[in-house]
Amino acid sequence: MLRVRNLGVGYGPLTVLRRVSLHVREGEVVTLIGPNGAGKTTLLRTVAGLAPARAGEVLFRGQDLGRAGPERTVALGCSLVPEGRQVFAAMPVRENLLLGGTVQYRRGRGQEVREDLERVHRLFPVLRERERQLAGTLSGGEQQMLAIGRALMARPRLLMLDEPSMGLAPLVVKEILAVVERINAEGTTVLLVEQNARSALRVAHRGYVLETGRIALEGSAEELLANRDVQRAYLGSEAPDPTGAGRAG
């Protein structure tokens, strides 16, 4: 569905992504983990058409997204839920969601927007309860749900999420990732950037480790969870060693 080859991105003299290649197959949840400043957000922003690429190509369902720009990217079915939610604080929840449906009106599918709103309410019942409330008065977790809901209103085939768990309480994180799994089960492909590698790998099929602008590792979620480098660097602790061998060396 998404294929990125040798993507290079930089700002002025600064190189953020060197040569990154990755892919996401239809139906997958793929996660991108790595330390702060590795380029994860830049990668999502470039795919979304929000940052220009210096080199390489981004193919989405066979189409080159290279110069597509954000609006066309969304219209093609690729939506980004940006880091830090970025909901319209001074607007009610419902209007925030309807804005996400703009692209559906342009597609001439305005009549489906009601259905989509219904679906988002089903996934996040709290958004129905707070329909008339201003988005700025929602809790962090609710704002995250609103941001995801707004992206879903565009009926994306690929949903990209940037750090959805950031600053949220563990229980809320769990709830949000459960919804991500459900969205995927209902047919949306997901590319998930997360600091919280353990949670991300639990919902993902596959993953990539991005370090200083390069892919350092690719593998199934299971393989990455079992990889000792990943355990040491991103999972906080080493998994217990069933052989009981010491830690010497």
């Binding site: 040798n6 290649s21 390069r214 892919i215 350092a216 690719e218 593998g219 052989t243 060396g249």
Partner: protein, 434 residues
């Protein structure tokens, strides 16, 4: 049947994307974690950041057996020893055995790739698999053992018992799949005849044979004598063990696990890539190995690669059965001779056994090639005239086939040396370079 259809039947374009991603990560890890590779790549002026296509691989230096030897035992490992859960060694066919490490993920990958080979060769849950390789440092037995367990078959780890004992177990345990080298399979078949066990007394269906070069005619003979369907498989301990490639039941080449290994075929002398489809030395780059990533490892094995889609549905390219080792390439009287060519001729001649040895000697008049051929008892004890007729017939055929004059000597059955199931095909007494 296919063990991992998603991987084994992947579209070519998708596979190449995956290979590129994995190759980039492998090069980066080798560069970061293996001082040897950091030095090598720096010396070659290869910047891992500039890597952008599979073709760029050709700019990487080769890794050889000597490199493994010099860094023996753990110098090329890309992970600390505490992350290594198993150590094997190459079987030392060429005289040097070196350590190979596996992380937990490496072992898991290995099991799955072996399961692919077994399933492609006909084996399923209901089969009883007799592993007749030696269990030990050598990877053959453990690889098949893990794979067969992964498939869910019943594994009998017989290891290196006497041929008689192997036959006994084939009978008693109603073994349906036999795993060993082709020459060992023939030895077991001989023991079967000797013990006068009728073929019908066995439940054998599948034979998975590898670890040494063999021929179509040898396959027919094994199948005939043991009453099974035989498939070839390929691997080498340095890059993992068996499981690099295996035949499906179409038996038109061995499907390579291209999602885990990147293969190139080069001319063993110029080291340049050969034209697609031509025979040359196989060079392997590992794509997923954690403990011991190898970049452009020269296997010394001679093969060719066919990327065409197979009738079985797998999209993975197929390598031809190994046609010998580039080390075995005999340069004699200006001609290039591979032992496998001699084998192919012998199989077509009635009365000869599939065991032979090539003896190279230096005489005043130049190099001489003598082929020692085992013949059936009836011929060996037959009258001189029939014996010399057979000998001359083989000499004529070999000389015309190889373009070099070859002397033939007939020897009694079972007189040629066999070590650990692997036949010694070439004895070079010439000393030094020709």
């Amino acid at each position: 049947m296919t063990w991992q259809p998603d991987a084994e039947c992947m579209e070519r374009e998708e596979l190449e994307q995956l290979q590129l991603e994995r190759l980039e990560a492998t090069i980066l890890r080798a560069y970061r974690h293996v001082p040897f590779y950091r030095r090598r790549l720096d010396e070659a002026g290869f910047d891992p950041d500039e890597f952008r296509s599979l073709e760029d691989l050709r700019r990487l230096p080769f890794t050889t057996k000597a490199d493994l030897r010099q860094n023996h035992p753990y110098g090329l490992f890309a992970v600390p020893l505490r992350d290594v859960v198993r150590v094997h060694a190459s079987s030392g066919t060429t005289g040097m055995s070196t350590a190979v490490g596996y992380t937990r993920n490496d072992l898991k990958t290995w099991s799955n790739l072996m399961a692919r080979v077994l399933v492609a060769g006909g084996v399923g849950k209901e089969d009883v698999v007799q592993v007749a390789f030696d269990y030990g440092l050598f990877t053959g037995a453990f690889g098949f053992h893990h794979g067969a367990e992964r498939v869910g078959a019943s594994v009998i780890p017989v290891s290196g018992a006497t041929p008689r004992r192997q036959v006994q177990i084939l009978q008693d345990y109603r073994t349906t799949a036999l795993v060993t080298t082709p020459s060992h399979a023939l030895t077991i078949a001989d023991a079967l005849l000797e013990a006068q066990v009728p073929r019908g007394a066995l439940a054998l269906k599948w034979g998975l044979f590898g670890a040494e070069p063999w021929s179509e005619s040898m396959r027919r003979e094994i199948e005939e004598k043991l009453g099974l369907t035989a498939t070839d498989n390929y691997g080498l301990s340095e890059v993992m063990g068996p499981g690099v490639a295996g035949e499906c039941l179409e038996r038109k080449g061995l499907h390579v696990a291209e999602d885990h290994f990147l293969l190139e075929v080069v001319d063993p002398e110029t080291l340049e890539p050969v034209e697609p489809g031509r025979t040359g030395e196989l060079v392997i780059t590992t794509l997923t190995r954690e403990a011991l990533p190898l970049l452009r490892y020269r296997t010394r094995d001679l093969t060719s690669i066919d990327p065409a889609r197979c009738a079985c549905g797998r999209t993975l390219a197929r390598m031809s059965r190994v046609r010998g080792r580039s080390d075995d390439l005999i340069l004699v009287k200006g001609a290039r001779v591979f032992p496998s060519e001699i084998e192919a001729v012998l199989f077509e001649i009635e009365g000869t056994e599939p065991h032979y040895q090539i003896l190279l000697e230096r005489r005043t008049g130049g190099d001489e090639v003598t082929v020692l051929v085992e013949v059936s008892e009836s011929i060996f004890f037959d009258d001189m005239r029939r014996q010399s007729e057979l000998r001359e017939k083989i000499e004529r055929r070999l000389s015309s086939e190889l373009g070099v004059t070859v002397a033939v000597k007939l020897v009694e059955k079972k007189t040629l040396e066999r070590s650990n199931g692997k036949a010694r095909r070439v004895v070079d007494l010439r000393g030094g370079a020709p």
